[in-house]
Every structure is written in structure tokens, then in C-alpha cells.
Amino acid sequence: MFAEFSIEPSHLLICLNSNNKYHYFYSPTIGCEKIHIFTRFKIDFIQPIYESERLTIRHLTLPGLLDIILAINHFPSKLYWEPASQSLECVALADTIKYVENQVGHSRTVLVGDLNMNPFEDGVVGASGLHAVMSRTIAKKGSRIVQSKQYPFFYNPMWNFFGDATPGPPGTYYYDRSEHKVYFWNIFDQVLIRPELIDFFDNDEMKIIESDGEISFVTHHGFPDVNNISDHLPIFFKLNL
């Protein structure tokens, strides 16, 4: 799943399929042109059910496995949007996800993408926003009530990846500027998991990726290689459905 993609999908598909190990497919969107999805299964199993310019929500229906909802999004950059705008957009996204969950009839949902916000920011944590918490135990409570209204949780495993005591890089996005408050490393690229799917998710199998095995995604200083690869580092996660 790519939130930033500047080449022709067919070019990548040719590269992916050149090693004969796996056969990849490209799953086109209908209206969302920001996000590109490649799969190792037929695209009939990952049909879009809701889209906007920066969001595609898919119904993943792999044969013999639990069907899930996969929401992939790319929020506008902090360069263009104020924190309040980003938070309000999270409220709208949360409402959209709940709408789709009602349509599909369950809330086995994974949200993944470039949120352009850290896991601790209002829109990601707030109950009326994405309501994503750092603890599996808390998320497994399902929901909580604020001012008489019930809000479902997401589990956000990305909290485990902050700082240099983690196995990988200290974040997915590096930003350094001469101002008073700078985090340097941020985790803008996140995967959020609804409580119903937590037991299928193994934290140990999740990582921030620094290399594809041949080419490094980071410079020799360990920062994302903006010039040759991307200013964001990709994430890898697995659901054992």
C-alpha cells in the first residue's frame, strides 16, 4: 500500500513480478488517486466500498478467512493543514469508518496510512477522533462513554516504536528545524486495529522498514533517504486471520 507514488503502477508491477517468486496484482481505485495497492491475491478479494480523494476503504474477503475492512488513507501534510484541521479531519474519518462498518455489518477494521500526525496527537487519541490507544488491554474493552456517547477504540501499536531503544529507527519521519519544539523523529505512518482484530495481530511481527533487502531507505546518518527513496519510512505488519 503506497500513500505516495510517483511512477506508473505497471512499472512496479513488472519489477515485482520479475523474480517469479510471487505473482503480484495491482488493485486500482475508482476515485482515490493518491493511494496505490498491490496484492499477492486476485483483486476481486479487495473491492473498494468507500473512497474520497485521500481515502480508500476496501472489503477484504479472502476465501476461507475472516473478512475484514481495510481503510487506507493519506492525510494532508502539516505544511498545509493546522493541527485543528487535522483533528477535525480525524473526526470525519472516524465517522466514515463507523458508517462503513455499519454497512458491512462488523467492525473488524484496520486503518493504515500516512496520518501526518503522531500517535499522541488530539485527532488520533481523542474519543470522537480515531480514539486509538497504546494498550491492547484498554483497546480490548471495546469502547468507552464520554458525555453519554459511546466511542469505539482502535489499538495503536505504533506507540511501541518511539525512540532509540526500539529495534528499528526511532520513527518513520524525520523533521529538524530551528524552532523551540521539535521531536526530530515522528511516527506519522501508522496502523490502527479495532479490538475485534487484536488477537490476530502480533506486535513482534510489526516493524519500521529501513531496507528492501538490497537498497537502504536511510542515509548513512540513519535518516530517511529523502533524495533517493522517500521522506517517510514504510511500515510492515501482519494479521494472522
Partner: protein, 142 residues
Amino acid sequence: MVDLWPNDIAAPKKKAPVTILKDQASLLGNKTQGLVLADIKKSDADSFYVGKKLYKKQFVYKFYIVSPALENYRYNLFSMANGIDLYPVLFSVDEDIGQELGLEEDKPLTANSESEFIETIKKLFASKKTIKVVHSILSQLE
């Protein structure tokens, strides 16, 4: 008792923009043999962001292209908001549509009257993005 209310108080002088939009939305199904529909949903939000600017006390609506045959697929083509006075109507549109219409950043697409509103939605319906989404849905149903 003398009735102090004006006789025409219940007769709205202006048609609400969302009513005009709903009327137009109902026509898409006829043109596509019911394969592609349009739908409008009122948002719970009462504020509306366009770029970095926040507009408060707004009625906010989302406009969708819908395909009942594709698991009720819906595409949020644009959103619009208006205050209690009905006009101006503010629009939030895709970047692609914004470029096509030559919109400047942080200057929202705005309709200040019913005639401007009609003209604006006509442009939105005829935009390359709208046509692309409709065609893309139809091609998947062939």
C-alpha cells in the same frame, strides 16, 4: 384573537441549496440506468474547513457518487456548507477538480446566489474527476 403572524411566513422565498442539489442528484440514476446514483448526506459537523480556514455555524453536506451494484460503493466527490442565510455556499473539492476549475489555495469555491450555485454544481458535475469516477464504475459493471 388577532393573528400577528404574516400570511406568507411558512412560504420559503428561496430554495435551499441542498434541495437543488438533491433534485439534481436524483437525475443521475436516469442517465445511467440506475447503475450509478448520487446521494447527499448531512454531516454532524457544524464547522467547515477549506484549506486552513475554518467556517463556523454551517450546515455541512457531503455529495456522493454511489454504485449499488458494487457493494454500495460510494465516492465523496465534494462537500459543501452554508449558513442559516443559505448563501454563500462554500465547497470543498478534490485537488484535481480545484486545479481544473483554476481555484487558488485557501480561496474556497463559493456560490453567492442560487444562479451561481446552479452554475457551480454544473461545473462540478461536468468535471473530469466526476466523469472519470462515473465511467470507472460503469466499466467495472460491464
